[in-house]
Every structure is written in structure tokens, then in C-alpha cells.
């Protein structure tokens, strides 16, 4: 049996904790952007992901995603149902359970990303149904294809930490739901300003912090590749923040706090698939480009009239696509022997093509299946998937959870 390396194990365990912490961070990042009457509903949808997905993962999720790894196939198997036989197993140089936990954190945060698109109007019961089905029918297969040596990985697509599996996947799911749910009443005329950017900034800090585990942890070892991924996870969001702020300043006349936060997150998204496969300067370029492009991508929802409340499409879908495809240009095998050379490093267009294919496949699959799930729930749930006008008006916190986010007393 391969030996456990304590350093690698320490790193993967810490990385897992860091990524789990991203979900509360995401909840706050999103929560700060909604109106105060919908704050708790947003937090709840995110925290619930930590509950339901985790239980599914232990029961059969991990097995369906990573069972039969390397089978170049469509889905895993039931070898590890209930995580059986894993207590003393080793994966690479770490205990298998550390790998299971690390991968679980990805399964948790991916559907959570969707909550930003559907903010302020989805019925709680509908979300419970959606995240359960989506995790099983969308996440598990896609994770298998790309992370577990499934067919896309075998074809040669690269995705260091989840540009397709996490971001394109969630972005497509969010877009599908947005179409099914329809616009929030009053959008885009009525102002719906963020109720607490302090929470959004706190969330941004937590996301960046946790993302080091997300990307550098994906090296699954405390080695040079992890260090490169770490460095790229540092510089890409930084460059993206600058990119976003500059374009924003030119277009709107102000560099905003929300812009700095959004740019950083966009950069983190874009570097995710590239983290361990590109050099530091490439990360600067990828970040800067993403910051500018994602800012501009926000205009799409107004042009095409779909109410992607917190811009999951502009930030995660567009950012994820950009990162995955730019990897086809900037991949540099000299950085990571397990990687490949992209167009700019003499690798030709082969990788680029695989990246485009992977993005297209994941987008199409997630968009379609998410839509089907949404339609099914709409048909099955007595009250449908959207709250009533009255409820939307009063707010989800009171109507879905019988709670208020804030109560400042003055007695």
C-alpha cells in the first residue's frame, strides 16, 4: 500500500477546511447584495448545501463520482457506497478520506453558486428539491467526466480545479433556472441595491482565502505545483480587480467597492482551471482580461432581459468559460509536467479544441438537465417553484423561514 506523506496530508486536510469555509463566505458575499428582507433566505440556501450535499456524498455521491476512476466513462459506480473500505485506503500520498472530504467541498459549493442567480424569488421547498436532484443528476456525472478520469479527461481536456465542473456547470444551471423563474417583480426598473456591502466584502475576503485551498489544494500535495497554483490564485484575482476597476471607472465614472470585490471573484473563477498549469505572468494576463470582460458581460442581462440577480452568469459562467479556454492558449508544460502546452507555448490548437469542447459539453448538459429538473419541480410542487407576488413583496425571510435578519432594539 502506498505510504501516506504527512506534509501532503496536512495540506489536503487544511485545503478541505479552507474550501468548506468558502460556502459560508459565498453566502455572505451574496447575502450582502440582496435586500435585507431576503438576506436569511440567501444564507439558508447556501448553508443548506453544506447539509444535504454532504449526506448525499457519503451515502453514494462520492462513489458515483469517483468510483471506477479512469474508466473514461460517463459515471462512476457503487464501490464506495457509504464510503466503505476507505477508512484505511490511500489516494496518492494522502488518506483516501482526505481526498473524499476535499472533493466533497467542491460538490457543496458548486450548487451553492447557483443561489446568486435565483435570488429573491425561489420557494424554499423548490430549492430543497432542486439542489438535491441537481447534485445527483448534474454534478456527479460532470465531476466524473472531468475529475475522475471520465471521458472528457481521457480526451485530454484540462481543468486543474474546476473551471468547467464548478463554474461553467453552476453558471449554466443558474441561467436555466433564471429563465424558468422569470424576473423579480420591478426588475430592472425598481432599485434593488445591496443591503450590506460590508457582508459582501467580508465574503470576498473569505472566498479569496478559501480559494487558496480550492486551487492549490487541487495539487493534492504540498509541492511546487501547489506553490505555483497558490501564487496564481494570488495574482489573477488581483489583476482582475484592477481590470474591473479600470473599465468601471471609465464607463461609470467611479471605481466601486462592489466592483473590486466582483473583479477579484471573477479572477478567482478564471484562474481555477489554469492554476496549476500556467506561469505567474500568464496569470496576470488571464486575470486582467477576465476582470474587464466579466464587467462588460453584466450588460448582457439588461440587453437580453434575463434577471440573473447577482450576476452568476457574468462572473461564474463567463469567467469559467474564459479561464477554461484561455488555458488552451497559456498552458505551459514547463510549469507542470502533468500539464500540456497551449497555443502560446508551441502546443498547437489541440488542447484549445479540447477545452472548447469540454466547455460546450458541460454547458449544454448542465443547462438542459437543470432546465428539466426545474420544469419537473414546477409540475410536481403544489405551490410551484416561485413565491407569490405578496410573498416576494414581503420578502423570503418572513414568508419562507418566519424569521427577520435584523432587529435593532432601542429600549
Amino acid at each position: 500500500m502506498p505510504k501516506i506523506d504527512t506534509g501532503d496530508t496536512a495540506w489536503v486536510l487544511v485545503a478541505s477546511a479552507l474550501v468548506l469555509f468558502m460556502t459560508p463566505g459565498l453566502a455572505m458575499f451574496y447575502g450582502g447584495m440582496v435586500r435585507s428582507k431576503n438576506m436569511l433566505a440567501m444564507l439558508m440556501q447556501n448553508f443548506f448545501a453544506m447539509g444535504i450535499v454532504t449526506v448525499l456524498w457519503v451515502l453514494f455521491g462520492y462513489s458515483l463520482a469517483f468510483g471506477g476512476a479512469g474508466n473514461a466513462g460517463l459515471i462512476g459506480n457503487f464501490d464506495f457506497v457509504g464510503l466503505k473500505d476507505l477508512a484505511h485506503a490511500v489516494s496518492g500520498s494522502v488518506p483516501s478520506l482526505a481526498f473524499v472530504a476535499f472533493q466533497l467541498t467542491f460538490a457543496v459549493i458548486t450548487p451553492a453558486l447557483i443561489t446568486g442567480a435565483i435570488a429573491d424569488r425561489m420557494r424554499w421547498a423548490a430549492w430543497v428539491g432542486f439542489i438535491t436532484l441537481w447534485s445527483i443528476l448534474v454534478y456527479l456525472p460532470v465531476a466524473h467526466w472531468v475529475f475522475a478520469g471520465g471521458w472528457l479527461a481521457e480526451r485530454g481536456a484540462l481543468d486543474f480545479a474546476g473551471g468547467t465542473v464548478v463554474h461553467v456547470n453552476a453558471g449554466a444551471g443558474g441561467l436555466a433556472l433564471v429563465f424558468l423563474l422569470g424576473k423579480r417583480r420591478g426588475w430592472p426598473k425598481e432599485p434593488m441595491p445591496p443591503h450590506s456591502l460590508a457582508w459582501t466584502l467580508m465574503g470576498t475576503g473569505i472566498l479569496w482565502f478559501g480559494w487558496f485551498g480550492f486551487n492549490a489544494g487541487s495539487a493534492l500535495a504540498a509541492n511546487g505545483v501547489a506553490a505555483q497554483a497558490f501564487m496564481n490564485t494570488f495574482v489573477a484575482p488581483a489583476a482582475a480587480m484592477l481590470g474591473w476597476l479600470i473599465v468601471e471607472r471609465l464607463k461609470d465614472g467611479h471605481a466601486t467597492t462592489l466592483g473590486a470585490a466582483s473583479g477579484a471573484v471573477a479572477g478567482l473563477v478564471a484562474i481555477t482551471p489554469c492554476a496549476g498549469f500556467v506561469g505567474s505572468l500568464a496569470a496576470v494576463v488571464i486575470g486582467a482580461v477576465t476582470g474587464a470582460v466579466c464587467y462588460l458581460a453584466i450588460g448582457l442581462k439588461f440587453r437580453f432581459g434575463y434577471d440573473d440577480a447577482l450576476d452568476v452568469v457574468a462572473v461564474h459562467l463567463v469567467g469559467g468559460i474564459l479561464g477554461s479556454i484561455l488555458l488552451g492558449l497559456f498552458a505551459d508544460a514547463s510549469v507542470n509536467a502533468a500539464g500540456k502546452d497551449g497555443v502560446f507555448f508551441g502546443g498547437g490548437w489541440g488542447l484549445f479544441g479540447e477545452q472548447v469542447l469540454a466547455v460546450a459539453v458541460v454547458f449544454a448538459f448542465s443547462f438542459i438537465v437543470s432546465g428539466v429538473i426545474g420544469l419537473a419541480l414546477k409540475a410536481v410542487l403544489p405551490k410551484g417553484i416561485r413565491v407569490t407576488e405578496e410573498e416576494e413583496h414581503t420578502g423570503l425571510d418572513l414568508t419562507q423561514h418566519a424569521e427577520s435578519a435584523y432587529a435593532f432594539d432601542r429600549a
Binding site: P188, E248, K251, G253, T256, L258, S262, F302
Partner: protein, 112 residues
């Protein structure tokens, strides 16, 4: 007995309060308000979307005074709430039927 109500810029409240005390007044009640008028509000931008907020934060001051004091109080209010900029606010005077002090039940001037 009259009730004088003044809508003023929030940062003027302390100055007004001090001035009224010097006049010998014993108390006042202040509450927050949003004003709309000639003074325009401001605009905010979130992810490229601009919102215009028409309302301007104002403070609403209520003072109960004896009839003879009304002119002096009104003048003092206006003098100290004034910046000369649009948006300085309004002062109005309302007739009163009665005033009581909760603690003692005293009525009229004694209630102040």
C-alpha cells in the same frame, strides 16, 4: 400653547438644540425623516447600474412652546438651521388644544 415643527439638515440639530436651550426651552423631540424638495438627492452605481435616490436625510424637530415664545423660537430655529443652501428646510406652527406631562399629569405651560 403651540407646536412648532422644523425640518432641518441632520448635522444642524446639535446647533439648533444648543440655541433653543439658551432661549430657556426645556426640551424637544427629534425624529429622522427623508425630505423631498428642490434639493436633489444623489445617485449610486452598483455593477454598472445607476440608481437615483431623490430623498435627502432630514431631521424633524418638534417643540412645544407657550404662545408668547413662538416668534423667538421660530427665529432661533431658522437662524441656526440655516446654511443658505437649498434644502435648509421648513418650519411650521400648529395650534394645540392641550399639553400634558405624563409623569405628573400637569397640563398647559406647567407640562413643559
Amino acid at each position: 400653547m403651540k407646536l412648532i415643527v422644523a425640518i432641518v439638515k441632520p448635522f444642524k440639530v446639535d446647533e439648533v438644540k444648543t440655541a433653543l436651550l439658551e432661549l430657556g426651552l426645556q426640551g424637544m423631540t427629534v425624529s429622522e425623516a427623508q425630505g423631498f424638495g428642490r434639493q436633489r438627492g444623489h445617485s449610486e452605481v452598483y455593477r454598472g447600474k445607476e440608481y437615483t435616490i431623490d430623498f435627502v436625510p432630514k431631521s424633524r424637530i418638534e417643540v412645544l412652546v407657550d404662545d408668547p415664545d413662538v416668534p423667538r423660537v421660530v427665529d432661533t430655529l431658522m437662524e441656526h438651521a440655516r446654511t443658505g443652501q437649498i434644502g435648509d428646510g421648513k418650519v411650521w406652527v400648529l395650534p394645540l388644544d392641550a399639553v400634558y406631562r405624563v409623569r405628573t399629569g400637569e397640563a398647559g405651560s406647567d407640562a413643559l
